[in-house]
């Protein structure tokens, strides 16, 4: 199987979809001539030309809104936010127009738009550039939210996202862009709402997604070696829809749940998963549900300290040890 970086995998999906469907357009700041701020779209302008790969001004409300409007007429724009953090200046367009227009029209309109870009901390770019926004997006019915952790998933989920007729918010991670993984060849898609069991085990379930899957896998290996723990890891892949069944099945097996996420604790994705599990599987639990997340403050710049603010392998190990 070919080995691609996460970045190349997304690029492959974008390219294949551009070739498949003449309505797909890639748009965003610096995506064309500059090759993408994070080089996801590198080489695509040369290959597909300026009608399909479009540089926009620094004007998120304008171009995201424009993309939503174009999608109502059947264009399938894939809009890059240089950082998801910049969604705040386009927030009205996303939550009022993309999320609501179908509903408010009584189902007469579809918005097949994808908005993509990195949403993560850990790169010492300070609080303005380090927002993790999946909880805020997932709070809006009408939006779908995707959070791939590896190259193969990123490619398959991006293809699904582009073909989906609802607005899809695709959250990547700058630290994962260089991560390599085997990516099956061919036209492979993955349905939203199907989690992956990244590691099977019986002593404890970790529910996680995005880069935290990597921390969790490393922590589980360490504790298997040192203490013989057998930990199951569920990679959610998508936040909305959410694969609740896989979570509940795993909890029914392990009876212990740790949620690892790069969110701040208050009103996070983990808060909601904890609520669901205690509502629907209370009797399966042998211990309180615990979470490992980001220390509750704006993202600190200081490089060594930021590493401690967000989840890392040591903090995941500490979380596991509180449960086992």
């Amino acid at each position: 199987m070919p080995v691609l970086t996460y970045r190349e995998a997304i690029r492959a999906a974008l390219s294949e979809e551009i070739e498949r469907d003449p309505n797909v357009v890639i748009m965003g700041e610096e995506v064309a001539q500059f090759n993408g701020a994070y080089k996801v779209t590198e080489g695509m302008l040369e290959k597909y030309g300026p009608k399909r790969i479009v540089d926009t001004p620094i004007s998120e409300a304008g171009f995201i809104g424009m993309g939503i409007g174009a999608s109502m007429l059947g264009i399938r724009p894939v809009m890059e936010l240089m950082f998801w953090s910049f969604y705040s200046v386009a927030f009205d367009q996303i939550v009022n127009n993309a999320a609501n227009v179908r509903y408010m029209s009584g189902g007469q309109i579809a918005c097949p738009i994808v908005i993509r870009g990195p949403a993560n901390g850990g790169t010492n770019v300070g609080a303005t550039h380090s927002h993790t926004v999946e909880n805020i997006l997932a709070h809006h019915p009408g939006l779908k939210v995707v959070v791939p952790s590896n190259a193969a998933d990123a490619k398959a989920l991006m293809k699904t996202a582009i073909r989906d007729n609802d607005p899809v918010m695709f959250l990547e991670n700058t630290i994962l862009y260089g991560e390599k993984g085997e990516v099956p060849e061919g036209d492979i898609t993955l349905p939203f709402g199907r989690a992956a069991i990244a590691r099977t085990g019986k002593d404890l379930t970790i529910v996680t997604y995005g880069r935290c899957v990597l921390h969790s896998l490393a922590a589980a290996e360490t504790l298997r070696a040192s203490k013989g723990f057998d930990i199951e890891i569920i990679d959610l892949r998508t936040i909305r829809p959410l694969d609740v069944d896989t979570i509940l099945r795993s909890v029914a097996k392990t009876h212990r749940l740790l949620i690892v996420e790069e969110q701040r604790p208050y009103c996070s994705i983990g808060s909601h998963i904890a609520a669901i599990v205690q509502e629907e599987a209370f009797d399966e639990l042998d211990a309180p549900i615990l979470r490992v997340g980001t220390v509750d403050a704006p993202s600190i710049y200081s490089p060594p300290v930021e590493k401690q603010q967000i989840p890392n392998v040591d903090r995941v190990i500490a979380g596991i040890l509180r449960l086992l």
Binding site: V25, K51, T56, P57, S59, A61, G62, F63, I64, G65, M66, G67, I68, G69, A70, S71, M72, L73, G74, I75, D92, Q93, N96, N97, V101, R102, Y103, M104, S105, G106, G107, Q108, I109, A110, P112, P141, G142, K144, D164, N165, D166, P191, F192, G193, R194, A195, T238, R240, P241, L242, D243, V244, D245, H272, I276, E279, E280
Partner: protein, 406 residues
Amino acid sequence: MRLKNLPDHLLAGKTQTHLISSSPAKQLPFASFNPKFSLVSKKSTEPTGAAAESQMPAVSLHAKAPANAKLSAEQRIELYRKMVRIRRFEERCLPVYNSGKIGGFLHLYIGQEAVAVGACSLMGKDDHVITAYRDHGHAIAVGMDTKPLMAELYGKITGCSKGKGGSMHYFAPDLNYWGGHGIVGGQIPLGTGLAYAVKYQGKKGAAMAFMGDGAVNQGAVHEAYNLAALWDLPVLFVIENNGYSMGTSQERSSAGGLAERASAYDMKFYICGGHDVYEVRATLDAALTRAREESKPAVVEIDTYRYRGHSVADPDKTYRDRAEIEDYRKTKDPIQVFQNQLVLEKVLTPALIEEIDAAARAESERAVEFAEASPFPTIADIQRDVYWETDQPKRTSEGRIFFNLP
């Protein structure tokens, strides 16, 4: 109102393009646009019967503009009929609102009818319209049936948005009408996107994105201006300048002219009066033709006026004079102006005027009956029309997509 804000050259042009009035015409006994009614009465309108001395100009300077000269008598009557239907529909909404059967806000378009009717009458199959929350006029102008419009206000499932949008969120994509948007200025990037799609798909159409005079101060509007001009998108940004954003006059909210802001983006702009439907058509025909043929955006500022408060909840007592409303009504009421024009053209007769009015009243009555008789959405309907996917017989994704509490 706003004329004094205009630079001299525009003022001069504007006066020229306005209606001329050599000898005030005698107003016909179509007094159902009784000034008194629209000001104070909450009851239904009543004809006064008496011929009033009119201060309205008799001949539209724009009757001979190509867009208007080519109109058949039937088409002229249809323009008139649409304006009357909008007014009667909205007047009929008032008692319903006051009886508590319509929730939320009700922003009436009364006084502005010539703008939506003139603009939408120019639409071809690849032209599109989007507007803000004062959207009833545009809805009727593009051809929506008033029954589902009234039912929408009642919150009934038979409403044009299944009772999910309300007064501010009317939609009819089948008629190229893309809403109905509640966030001031938020629809303008969407309208720009409609134009982007039209151009991308190689069609010869244009989008008209309507907004109020208050909306021009929103950042999203300026971002859209820049994109449209930068990429030569066939979009018209139509400012319906009724002089006020809620209770704030243009003078108190906007520095400088409104249309003139287009120049900063190297965009053409037009300014015209909005009470003569012929003038609206003449101006927009030129702008639309240019948009379609040359794929060029423009700003079109149309001077108009609303008789009613910002919404029905606005007591309308603090920010403008009654005299100002009265003056507009006497001199510029768009329906009366066009009625006078068509009488002069011998297209309308007193009998036809009566017939059109009676039909419009009867239509709004039937709309009320339809809305009254219709059912409300069910609790299950709350979660329909959220996702395209979940509205299909079979889902494509897996997992939980609605998070219902047990």
